[in-house]
């Protein structure tokens, strides 16, 4: 069985600062994908970034980057130069099967303050 754990229920960060969200996972599969999704107050789930397990290089999308530690089964998200619009719930998710089913963590609420 696959599990995803996000141990930080809420984090607060000031504008322009950097915040790092942690995520650990467990799977016995060798080929899998990891995702970070963002859910702002509008409720629309938006893909932030994804990482393939076979790729050593950490994924980056503008101000968002990940630190993927495969041996430790860790997949943290770093938000640089935080903006008010980054205020949202962030979910870490794991996909292991060919159907692309996602196992989600409990989420981390990020609040960006002026």
């Amino acid at each position: 069985a696959q599990t995803v754990t996000q141990s930080q229920p809420e984090m607060s960060v000031q504008e322009a600062e950097t915040v790092t969200l942690s995520c650990t996972y467990d799977t016995s599969e060798n080929n899998y994908y990891l995702f970070w999704y963002k859910q702002p107050p509008s409720r629309q789930m938006i893909l932030v970034i994804r990482q393939e397990a076979y790729k050593q290089q950490n994924a980056t999308e503008n101000r968002f980057s990940v630190n993927f530690q495969k041996a430790a089964k860790s997949f943290s998200l770093k938000i640089s130069d935080s903006q008010l619009g980054d205020t949202a719930m962030y979910f870490c998710a794991l996909a292991t099967d060919s159907w692309g089913k996602l196992q989600f963590g409990a989420g981390t609420q990020v609040v960006v303050t002026p």
């Binding site: 999704y37 789930m45 089913k101």
Partner: protein, 113 residues
């Protein structure tokens, strides 16, 4: 852009009613999913479908059923609604490839009184 449309943003129903939640996607995706979102629990998969008329149980299928008569439409059915089914329901769709992300609707906040 992919559009996943859920029929209702808010819905209030009574205990024992049969409830239908509808979801439509416009990107010809093979896969469609229904999740339930509760605080502290993240999203949990109720059912998914990988083709027309095909369905598979997710992690919490009890009390729910689904229907997929057309590729673009996936319905979630609460056969006899109960108060513990009060929740946020999210529909998603994707291509049937591991690396492809899921695209989500805006969610339906369902209250069962």
């Amino acid at each position: 852009d992919v559009k996943v449309t859920q029929s209702s943003r808010y819905l209030v129903k009574r205990t024992g009613e049969k409830v239908f939640l509808e979801c439509v996607q416009d990107m010809d995706h093979e896969n469609m999913f229904w999740y339930r979102q509760d605080p502290g629990l993240g999203l949990r998969l109720i059912y998914f479908s990988y083709d027309v008329k095909m369905k598979e149980k997710g992690d919490i299928p009890e009390g729910y059923s689904v229907s997929r008569e057309k590729k673009e439409r996936f319905s979630l059915i609460l056969e006899s609604a109960s108060t513990n089914q009060t929740s946020m329901y999210l529909c998603a769709s994707s291509f049937r490839v591991l690396r492809q992300p899921q695209h989500f609707g805006d969610g339906t906040r369902l209250s069962i009184l």
